[in-house]
Symmetry: D2
Subunit: 379 residues, 4 copies
């Protein structure tokens, strides 16, 4: 295994936003190079994309099963695969590569059922493979710093959490022509939830990554607000954590004026932290003595475990790509260490399959609560 790893991609064909975003994020650090792909169910599109990306034709595959098998056989096969297909094919694709002994990075939400998620975990353990679930937002330097601040006791014990993730892009009934919108609001393609599955899991995971708190039970209210919508487009979840603290999670796609408004506010016994992913270079910290601090990435107040991911000085803004890049950076470092025999679990600084499973559990509990009339449901 050389220092620059080789990776393959499943999904991310011509025009696909998320595949492109993963490729750029990996490019940013140059720690891995794309050498194989099955970018689409249509082979012509895979060929087109592969050519654009300069990949040898013999490593462009008709389907992911073939790709998994052939790459596993090659002397110079890929070190890991990056799966960025629609959610309903995550399970099959992940399974194919795990069975072939190839490390996996997969987009969230991990699977459409808890059973599938647990099976992937079992497989990964059995094969001793690493598994990254790409919850982007925990990758921000400021998000990592909040984790360190809370672990260090800066705000005391966490008492209550207000998490929200409003967007406004589905506020209108007619979404004709917007492919992503058409897909999102169609139960055949999206499954049983839209806003909660897409956005709620990000809140759940970001809060967990920051605080270490696991959700114990939920009471959800999932609404279909826009006329003729078949899946939730605005949802509220009351949560209770394992330490007894409480939380409220709000997700919306009809909240006009919000672009991608993931915001986490954590109130503890000694202080409070506020973080807004659209301004990811800042942390707000309030203390009992009435002081309110604005902490900037890059300036003294950043812990080493967060600071090590910085690429630019303070005031030179890092954003979404860097957050995603940080996940891959740790994942790849772990892969290299594994190959060199120096890996241990404490090196892992990215969301793993356990985060993926928790996300699926969270969705299932919320769906049950809604079905039963907004009552408490244990995770």
């Amino acid at each position: 295994m050389s220092k620059v790893l080789k990776y393959g991609m499943v999904g991310g064909g011509p025009g696909a936003l998320i595949g492109d975003a993963h490729r750029r994020s990996i490019n940013l650090d140059g720690k891995a190079q794309l050498v194989a792909g099955c970018f689409s169910r249509t082979y012509e599109k895979t060929l087109q994309m592969g050519k654009e990306l300069g990949i040898d034709e013999d490593r462009l595959y008709e389907n992911f099963e073939e790709m998994a098998r052939k790459e596993a056989e090659r002397e110079d096969g890929i070190d890991f695969v990056c799966i960025v297909t629609p959610n309903n094919s995550h399970y099959d694709a992940c399974k194919a590569f795990l069975e072939a002994g190839i490390h996996v990075s997969c987009d969230k939400p991990l699977t459409t059922t808890l059973e599938d998620a647990l099976e992937l975990e079992r497989l990964a353990k059995e094969k001793d493979l690493l598994f990254l679930v790409t919850y982007t937002y925990s990758g921000h330097v400021t998000a990592k710093n909040i984790r360190e601040m809370i672990a260090a006791g800066e705000i005391g014990e966490v008492r209550t959490v207000m998490g929200e993730y409003p967007q406004g892009w589905l506020a209108e009934e007619d979404v004709t022509g917007n492919k992503q919108a058409e897909w999102r609001i169609d139960p055949n393609l999206s499954g049983k939830t839209n806003s909660l599955g897409d956005l709620g899991t990000h809140i759940e995971n970001t809060v967990y990554q920051m605080t270490g708190l696991k959700v114990k039970r939920v009471l959800s209210k999932m609404e279909k607000i826009v006329p003729n919508r078949k899946l939730d487009d605005n949802s509220v979840v009351l949560v209770e954590y394992d330490n007894g603290a409480s939380g409220v999670y709000w997700t919306s796609q009809i909240a006009i004026g919000h672009d991608n408004g993931l915001r986490i506010r954590i109130y503890g016994s000694k202080g409070a932290i506020s973080w807004f992913q659209e301004e990811p270079e800042k942390i707000f910290l309030s203390k009992l003595d009435g002081s309110n601090l604005e902490i900037h990435r890059g300036h003294g107040c950043i812990y080493e475990k967060a600071a090590r991911y910085q690429r630019l000085p303070s005031g030179h803004s890092e954003g979404w790509f860097e957050a995603m890049s940080n996940l891959y950076s740790s994942f790849i470092d772990c892969l290299v260490a594994k190959a060199e025999g120096t890996f241990d679990e404490s090196m892992i600084d990215y969301p793993t399959i356990v985060d993926g499973i928790d996300g699926v559990k969270f969705i299932e509990a919320c769906l049950a609560s809604q079905e039963k009339g907004n009552v408490w449901v244990d995770m």
Copy 2:
């Protein structure tokens, strides 16, 4: 009745914040003059306060019953009374003045039981008296402007509302020496709720004043977070309005970093409005086309029905006193019109006893929901 009205005050003795605040708010416009008072249960304190305020000693009373009776008998008796006592004596004091035929202004929450509130309403009607309930925040020019914007259809139909009112002043267990805090957390003085009764009713009323929407049912979760606290200090209420729209109200007194953070966000089918009472000179308006506007009090975008309350040009900040003053301003204008025989109900531009009753209903429904295990309760 001369143009400058005469008023009396019950409560608001030496050191009392809220009585002082009401007096200053009324002073600001000079539309009414304080001429009588029963500022305390202790007569010496009433005398002391009356002297400080330059009130004739024969209009300083030992108790409010005497004050109501004697002022009603005087040729030059008070035109209205301002009641700023602790909540548990609102009912008795209001009743005394209504029965004596004197118009009433009373602090919120109106009473401790719905029955009492309804009785006051009955009395006011019977005697044909006006009744102001001083929900301060609806008095801001910007709050009034939001009402006009929504009524004019600027954001279409209201779909969901996020209301929050976090404070941080009760985050610590030990509140020894802070009189207001000691009173607030004591069930003997505060009744059955603390944060929800004090702050939640402000959210409920401000949303109503802005949108015209009445709450139809609630699901509340009232928490006692600080160790040894006997009343809720952090609460969340899911609400449904009569038009089918939904809402979430969060109140807290343990949210470190927040001073007096009443914030209302209203999402409609065509746009969204955000308003923050700590920055009461601004309105944020977002539209479907992606535009986000910051509207400043005093600048073109303000409706006449809101603009008429302005005292200063834009950029010359108006604040809390002006908001309270605006309530009294309309109340006094109505009293003058009533005396002159020109009054009609459409002139009323302040929260009335109906708002007061709705607040009490809201509290009772939330308490019932909490008691039954966080279930839906109709208003």
Copy 3:
């Protein structure tokens, strides 16, 4: 002299914004009562205004000379006069009352020539009278707190100051129908400067009140940007202070988007402070260690010498009226102390005639610099 003082007003007739604002500001505290006036050059308007304000007709005067003489003769004459006429009559009005032995409050800029200002100072000293110049913005609790912070060395030695006061209300050539605008841009009424005289003096005084630094020399560039304008509507002044520090002052009336944007940023050897008058409840403090603090009025971080002016808890916004009120509050306290024989100069906590004189000097130096081609001119 009773505890509630009596005052008279010159100027502030029907429709006049600034007279109304001064009256409300004094009302807010109830420390003085308006009992006499000469509100206009037109006696009918004085009568009308006096009636509205409930003033006895025998204390409504045809001109300020008569008012000064007669009030001085009365047993119950006014304790001070409040002069809010256009700038060009400040001198004559102030002189009349000082000569009559009556304390004076006068709007800024004090006079149109330095000679006049110095004559008023001489008179006030001779008669042992107090003199308030109503530079509003130094009255904010936060402004006073900044003064204490800097005096306490919180930001070390002041090195450079960026002051700006942009407004946008004169951006259009045609101002027909806007009386204040018509007056402002007319050299016959405004004198030799418009933006710099009106706004620049506020920067100069606010910086002085905060830092104690006096301007030593200036280099100004005064521009007439809007077509056909005869006076400066956009100006920049480079300044040097007596301690060697530097500054830049920008004033504008053509800066679209700004309402009343006085902003002061003070950079020292150990920290920096930023303050914005449109959000007067906050102070921003940055330190060498990279920490950035937002200090709220009403919260722990406020010095007693500033905190004593607070009327409301943090988060209950105070604004422009309260700032003006604070000037009068200290002025009246000093007058009472003077009457009681307990006054000493250290009690003065408001801008005095010395501040007024400095403002006039500053304007004259800027005019000279502009005339000579933007060169340095000593104060």
Copy 4:
């Protein structure tokens, strides 16, 4: 010439921030691949860096002259060179590659004398080579959008510009151990100016890119504030543009609390625009009617000529790397078009050698103004 270009780098050795930043920025799009380098004057460091970056050893050079010559001779030689050395070697390095017929990207400020800059321009023209000067900030999508907004007349004619670029990192006298700081404040390494040369040129260029206005004359005041500093660390420049508009540029390295605070405010006859590079996803637009808009990258209000550079939807923050990447993106597109014979000058959407020359002229005029005692100096 294939679609993925080949480039080489001069400078950017181990630990060098700016070389690393350029490499990552180019990586982000994958339009060019690094294949050759002379990363340091010390060949061992070049070898080390080259190895880390996976470059063939026969394309790692001892000096740039050798690199220019050998790469020009190769069939598969580099398509362009990226020069990120200290300023004083820009001229020699650029010259070597231009003479060898290789396109050049060079960091700003371009050269240390105007003569050198003009010679490079002559050479580039003679050889028909493209030349990118990497003024990062004009690359932001929002910066490009402002250019389109102004060109479309959205704010009318530009009247005055306030540009500032404060930093706080050199506020302390002792900078021992901070290599970049040591270099910056040393006249032997930095030349005749520090803050103005480094930061002022960014203001000058960003304003030009946004407005199209060229500076006609300047009046500068360059200060050495920190004790024992030999070069300016705080400077103000009054400017006049070719259209008669005015401007003020402030640069500082002693402004505690500022990280990298480039802020441009442009006031026109119909509106005003404000832009802050630390929050590069937003544009603030104010109009005569009192409306204030916040425009977000990615949302409707963005012109096609700016929008085409977007990689992520609104709310998924792009930052510094993307801005730099956008410069290279247009530069590389032009190189490809040139190779394919489809190039014309209207395709250029990056700062060229003309921008570089203007920067050098600006510095020279400011130095002259300071030397002559803060007087106007023509460009």
